[in-house]
Amino acid sequence: MDKDNQRFNLQFIKDSFSGEEINLSSGDILFNEGEKNDFVFFIESGSIKVLKNKWVIGITKAFEFVGITSCINEIDIYTFSSKAIEDSKLLKIKKIAFKNLLLENKHFSKQIIEILCERIKLTDIRTRSYIDNSPRQRVLFEIFNNITRSNNSIAAYITNEDLSELTGISKRAVTKIITDLTKEGLLESKDLGSILIKDEPKILTEIKP
């Protein structure tokens, strides 16, 4: 979610939680599946991928939380792993403080409900996509799911490796698909995992026929 459309106000989060700020470099592990889950994390900048059984189940971006479900589900361990995709800054929040704010602040509680509903919907769509769609459609779906709009451009910041992990398609096949899409004028692949969307309507037609 980009800064202009963020759900959570960073200052509100910092004022509500007296947590430690941590910095991760690209590739650093935030937590591993099976570790004790004493904390929820708020991403101030950067992005974190979430994995289970080495399968990427999602990418969480700035102004979102990581670790909510493990915290809420009354179990003592993280049920998935997480790793920084890029240099990231996070606020480390004690689990008990997070739960207390849910009980004290109706608006915050409502926002968390909205996030969970969105994530369930997205996961269902991805599952459906896996069953129904071609590899090309799945790649397009994940690219479009990670776009950021600014001024007159639409771009996705996601590497071929991430796309491979999200879709279960080999990196080589992903690279070929991106090359084909670039030749067809649907997108433009730039450096460092940046993909510029050139023809949004055509992409939308393809992923939602």
Partner: protein, 236 residues
């Protein structure tokens, strides 16, 4: 066949209340109960359709329901089952979206309907209930993520085995202690596992040959649960 006219108690006296409503005050339960609708659905009848405007929360008083989504080529995907005490439609109400799935009675069922306005009013007022809603959604998200991983990573045999275990965990056994207490068509099992009916029929035959299950028409008997669990590759 069940009688279609039974007296469904108020929310305060419902033995199915379970965890979800246990944090409500009497006045809140009364608020939900006032003008609560209750309907009888015959086996195969649809309670609500995917894409329809979400107007209420459904609470399954007695019976069994499947929730399905329509994929491409009209293929149905079973996303969840519901049994006595389960609530349906809450995610659509909370996210202010149309119903995300179609709910169909798997057997004759009695279902209560609470209006959207009253449900949301109580959730807003009662922060403990709000937390329970979040817990329910978290559990749903965990289930959805696991399903995604299963579809992506597991073999057809593992997915079919897991589907049978899910059915057994959701509906239990009949009085014989080994027959799963629900009749599902091969097509419905295929929908659950995200595979074709043909593959499902072959795989069930294989599981039967390997003495993990026995097939008696639509009835599925679990002969060797530990091995079936191992076969499903589920470790949770």
């Amino acid at each position: 066949m069940k009688k279609n006219t039974i007296e469904i108690p108020s929310c305060s006296n419902c033995g199915n209340s379970k965890e979800f409503f246990c944090n409500l005050s009497e006045s809140e339960k009364q608020l939900l109960s006032d003008k609560k609708g209750d309907n009888f659905y015959k086996k195969g009848q649809v309670i609500f359709y995917e894409g329809n405007h979400a107007n209420g929360l459904y609470c399954l008083y007695d019976g069994k329901v499947k929730l399905t989504k329509l994929g491409k080529d009209g293929k149905e995907q079973i996303v969840r089952f519901s049994k006595n005490g389960d609530i349906l439609g809450y995610r659509s109400l909370l996210s202010d979206e149309p119903y995300h799935a179609t709910a169909t009675a798997l057997e004759d069922s009695h279902i209560c309907m609470i209006s959207k306005e009253k449900f949301l009013q109580v959730v807003e007022q009662n922060t403990k209930l709000s937390l329970q809603v979040i817990q329910l959604l978290s559990k749903d998200l965990k289930g959805a993520e696991q399903h995604l991983i299963d579809v992506a990573q597991k073999t057809v045999k593992e997915r079919i085995a897991e589907s049978l275990i899910l059915l057994k965990n959701t509906f239990g056994y009949l009085a014989d202690g080994k027959t799963i207490n629900i009749n599902m068509t091969r097509s419905e099992i295929a929908d659950m596992a995200g595979t074709s009916t043909e593959s499902t029929i072959r795989t069930l035959a294989t599981l039967s040959d390997e003495n993990m299950i026995a097939l008696d028409g639509k009835n599925i008997i679990i002969s060797d649960l530990p091995n079936l669990i191992r076969c499903s590759n589920t470790y949770d």
